[in-house]
Symmetry: C2
Subunit: 892 residues, 2 copies
Amino acid sequence: MSKWVYSFGRNRSEGAAGMKALLGGKGANLAEMAALGLPVPPGFTITTEVCAFYYRHAKSYPPELRAQVAEALRAVEAEVGARFGDPARPLLVSVRSGAPVSMPGMMDTVLNLGLNDRTVEGLAAASDDRRFAFDSYRRFIQMYGDVVLGIDHYLFEQRLDEIKREHGVRFDNELGARALADLVASYKELVRRELGRDFPQDPEEQLWGAIGAVFGSWMNQRAQTYRKLHNIAADMGTAVTVQAMVFGNMGEDCATGVAFTRNPSTGERAYYGEYLVNAQGEDVVAGIRTPQPLTRAMAEASGGDPEASMEARLPHSFAELVAVFDRLERHYRDMQDIEFTVQRGRLYVLQTRTGKRTAAAALKIAVDMAEEGLIDRDRALLRIDPMALDQLLHPTLDPKAERRVIAKGLPASPGAVSGKVVMSAEEAERLAGQGEAVVLVRIETSPDDIHGMHAARGILTSRGGMTSHAAVVARGMGKPCVCGAGDLLISYEEQAFTAGGVRVRAGEVITIDGSTGEVMLGAVKTVDPQLSGDFATLMGWADAVRRLKVRTNAETPLDARTAVRFGCEGIGLCRTEHMFFQEDRIVAMREMILAADADGRRKALAKILPMQRADFVALFEIMGARPVTIRLLDPPLHEFLPHSESEIGEVAAAAGVEPRVVRRRLKELEEANPMLGLRGCRLGIVYPEIYEMQVQAIVEAALEVEARTGAAVVPEIMVPLVGSARELELVGERLRAVAERVMAERGRRIDYLVGTMIELPRAALRAGEIARHAAFFSFGTNDLTQMTLGLSRDDSGKFLDAYLEAGIFATDPFRSLDIDGVGELVRLACERGRDTRPDLKLGICGEHGGDPASIAFCEEVGLDYVSCSPYRVPIARLAAAQAVLRRRGARA
Amino acid sequence: MSKWVYSFGRNRSEGAAGMKALLGGKGANLAEMAALGLPVPPGFTITTEVCAFYYRHAKSYPPELRAQVAEALRAVEAEVGARFGDPARPLLVSVRSGAPVSMPGMMDTVLNLGLNDRTVEGLAAASDDRRFAFDSYRRFIQMYGDVVLGIDHYLFEQRLDEIKREHGVRFDNELGARALADLVASYKELVRRELGRDFPQDPEEQLWGAIGAVFGSWMNQRAQTYRKLHNIAADMGTAVTVQAMVFGNMGEDCATGVAFTRNPSTGERAYYGEYLVNAQGEDVVAGIRTPQPLTRAMAEASGGDPEASMEARLPHSFAELVAVFDRLERHYRDMQDIEFTVQRGRLYVLQTRTGKRTAAAALKIAVDMAEEGLIDRDRALLRIDPMALDQLLHPTLDPKAERRVIAKGLPASPGAVSGKVVMSAEEAERLAGQGEAVVLVRIETSPDDIHGMHAARGILTSRGGMTSHAAVVARGMGKPCVCGAGDLLISYEEQAFTAGGVRVRAGEVITIDGSTGEVMLGAVKTVDPQLSGDFATLMGWADAVRRLKVRTNAETPLDARTAVRFGCEGIGLCRTEHMFFQEDRIVAMREMILAADADGRRKALAKILPMQRADFVALFEIMGARPVTIRLLDPPLHEFLPHSESEIGEVAAAAGVEPRVVRRRLKELEEANPMLGLRGCRLGIVYPEIYEMQVQAIVEAALEVEARTGAAVVPEIMVPLVGSARELELVGERLRAVAERVMAERGRRIDYLVGTMIELPRAALRAGEIARHAAFFSFGTNDLTQMTLGLSRDDSGKFLDAYLEAGIFATDPFRSLDIDGVGELVRLACERGRDTRPDLKLGICGEHGGDPASIAFCEEVGLDYVSCSPYRVPIARLAAAQAVLRRRGARA
């Protein structure tokens, strides 16, 4: 005979924590606790297999189920010493749904089931509290009426309001026993009117109604949508847990509370929680009464009365609770979040689960537990969400500071910062030069704004998604950024914006929190990050485990230094074009673009050469012997040209030509789809002199630094946007010729590599041939994603949400690698490239290089390194270690 | 002992036509003719293996070579009855290079080799023509000096001019024997001055010098570049052919000529050619004397004197020639292009090769030869270049008409047409409405211009490549188009353009030839295409052989009818957006785009519905039971919005909103890379009501036509730009719901299919899953190429040439499918799609569907059909047949 029902209680517990698939999360944990001998009210769980049966058999139950439920119920009755439906000593139960994974949208809980017109009197007598009994009864009718009988919640609220009005009271808890009896009568009348039949008085009928409602809710629209969005199989099913009720509201020797085995905010090893005497669980949450602290220490820390703590007031129950804490933490080997009730001096544990915690707490708890010997270091590493580390690396808002939020955008780059509003890059640079803290506020940013973004403390835009220019650049710079704050109405002419009914002028101070997306008026106090010893300890453990190297994407000395501080092992992507936007270079750059022929271009490039060389000297000096991958010029030339009439005039004047010449060149360079246009190595093929200058600067800088510092500088020269072997062959030949010439001139040699970015689907497909000319591949997964999905990073913001909602994208493919699509191309390119050249060095330098899920994929396909923005370096170090551990786990 | 030399002559011929790899094209054909017993001057060929040896052994020869050459030379001497270097009866030879494939850039020919100061006297005596002998000698020194000794050609020209001045003559042929002797002396002096040594007098030295020059030229820069561009292996090598000289200029019983076995212009079965009495081969070409027709019939046809024909003047030699014609045509089974010389009444054949011919001639010859039994039908099909058919389907310039070419652009869409210049789509429509023939002249075209392009007879642009909007649309419409005519300076303000120093105002007449790219002033007479019976015959043979179905890309009734006339078997791509640009719809379309919400959009769509339905009714009626694939709306919405201020005003007025509302919407819809933006099924997901309207129109139209005509209409509804299975699932569900609703309302059903375009790399990769929701795949190889190569069709024109020149692209990847890159994705998608759904229907609807090389690929991967623009349908039918035959040949 199949077993459909699993009991738990003092005398027997048929389940265990490992049986979540069969019993649901709640049922499995209750069974585990019961088996541990912890004081759990007895009950039983109807398995998820019944749910599956129910849907396979036209919503009917297995024939044996009724008998098994009846038997389990008898065991509960025996333990509690009460009987279901007994008017004298009625057993009351709760009925809860419990899927193997936490899943909103389903029926949650029905409490106090078993009450009817007769048992309510028995409860009144047994508790000696008529008010309590009728309050329980009315709550039951309301809950059952809503979730089982499908009567609109609002109708019950109306009846409650009527009764309160009739009895002249304001709050629910002011209603006396008589009023509550009236309310029960009114509720029952409501049910009769709505359904045309009476509220069920038979506890058996009540129970099966509730069980049916749980199973029915598994297939409701909200639950289905949730499953679709989270890729949860529909045949997993839900379990139903039926458990004896206990009450924390039967007098002054009763209480209810929520507790953590450690401080979930700081991670400190100290009991933590709140409780209320003579209250029900929902009262703690509802906020009608203020809960009291669990311990004397907590009360003292918050300036409260230590004598109001549970430790002081219910010392016996508190001692029992502490024992439960220790038992559970040792058993589960993690910080637990516990719900408990004290009924007439007796402690009951109603739920335990792994407690949520802040990033700082997670770090401290993991390191502490490893040092306490509760878990090993591997497990400690797996405990930390790498992304959460980000919170620890940036200033955060002082939680105690007051704030006035006027708008909310996307949390594009973490950290909180205050500064004067500036609305142009030039103004940002000017004011920052005077030592002012400024926040750059733009509708959106473009490469023209880079210098202003560098100068600003933070960036706020009204348009663009998590991967817009502003967001990407800000993350790269480690600067706080809120983007796509659509409520902001920005007027450059008026040098002001309005948001949340407030008008903010340039020069006024705002605060932005890039971790939450909030925009606040005035300066809000922030707290600097404390990279405590725990952080360094954990990072050390991660480094010992990981195989992947971690490099950084950086082009400025500031970024490079930050990344070195965060433990990067090289530069994986130095985007040389960012160097060209600086004031002194952009002029020469524009002169180069406007030149009539190669000679003209060479003349302009000769002006850029010493500056570019100096850039590389600075980077090589900071990086020492760490490898530095330098990508040759990539963006279309029109990105460097001005677009406003006044700027066009300036450029024309500087170049000594008529404005119409500049305008014509602008027109010539215009592209319908610049992403797919004249950029990357196509520039190197059409205008070879550009790359020649860059390679000269690289080799000269390397020779200079090597001569001065003795460090063996190894530049890795990266050719972008290659689509065929022939392109790389051609460009590579030219680059090597320049490098050889420079080295011959100086009479010294350096080692250098020539490689390519794999960022076109065709490059991935033809990787076997391309590898003949490349010492390394670096996957440019930003562009590879754009091309493979036919999806512009700049334009997809408009429909990304619709795509996430419809379950087409599980995550934004620009944040986490599309493993099924783009991933196949990466895998293929790795295989084909290594077939040709077994020692091919493989890395990734797209935004995905700092995303844990993508890093796990990089580990799986055997890349040599990931490269990410400086502030992602610690994240990548941890994620790389986790990837190793998870693969090891999967293999074991 | 290795055989390095192959002789040919009357008595022995060691080679054959099949030995081109060893003997080169020329040597192999000479050997073949000699073996056939045709009168070929004797000679020998030094093999390509010697060339390979030469380069592998530091430019030295195999030791046995000298002896083998000497022996072969003795055989020639024996046959001719003259000796190399013999002052009395000197043997003269020609030395020619001959690679296995025709290859410009190499040394071509040295004639009269063997002449020196003594043999020239022998030649004078033997020919009894001193002038002839010295003319031959001076030609030899000049040719040898140039190609073997490397003396600048120009220096010889100078000496020739001096002598002509001295002797007071104007033309070369006015120089007498004495003058020519002076010229020889002057040439020899020139050689001495340039090289510091005498012109070689030893015939042996001359011969080896020429042989070395041929081998040396194999590796010169021009030849290397040519090989790189045409993917010819360098180790193929060249052969050297040495052959006894014969002379057509030794008297009135001598002649020389060029002849074809059939008319290469019309294909008519009649001997065709020109000759000159007492002349050398180069005289026929040089144009100093006017050659005479070969036959009486030719002379009569051109109004000349029949008695001047070879047939009349040299009847014996002509009879011999006719016998050669018949022999060669029967032997080679193709029309031959023959060079001959009559030396003192004796006919010699110097070369035969397959003759070049016009498209019309190719067609007629192939069909005639098949009907004569000379070749089978398969071979006839393989004889025709499918692309050449295009010439037969469009009007062409009357070859006799005078023309003044003022500019040249790209031959973007074939056909010649004259019309008044108009410079806007509106003006084109207006004048065409008045019955005027107009040519639309634009810098470039956009979808806004479609109605004007429809109204115009031809299109001329100054910007854009072979796959620019103008080119693609014009080809689709079968309208002549010249695009990217960069010399045109177009001023819309002045309503005029300048080109070739001419200013042309709107209203003046020009003629464009889309087959050559020429732009001409005034009206040039054109000739209408004659789709003769041969055309139909050949197409019938093709249809009997091919496996691939051929559909067309069409959305207008005109296009659909044209395509049916050309034999299409369905519509493979009906781009519904083209229908939205018509005057009456664009208004409603814009109203839809400007609507604030879905209700507003539905209201506007309701206006479009009846028009869209009428479109489909018209198409279904023309196509009958042929399948019609309808692609739902694909382009980004901003393509439908106006951009000029005046148009914005109009749209705002029509929509009853402020212009700033339109401007704001324009700004909102703006995209950085529209190709990768909110388009295709993304529109269908964000604005489901658009596709719902379209599907309603399709199903209603199908029901209506089926009811009226009884034809079983099967619409194939195609969802564009799908990247994941979930997208198609979602859109498909909605479409089917609408279709079911409409059919339920009407109480009748039709069959319809829902499928998708595979145009994103990701779609190809995930084809296995996508096929679960698709009845068919149509490869949108235009976009698939753009995405896979990261290459915008609109923007690549700027560097495409550089890429073709550098050998990065073998052909424009938008014209001929990139089989290595894009092709792999197509192949993969076919395999994965059919794994899921074995009956998946597979087609292609990109521009490549009309390209023969791409069609061969489609045959190979097993697509079910190709779809192309109407005028490409016959091309595709033939190419599909050829693909079958070639694969059959390759397997055999």
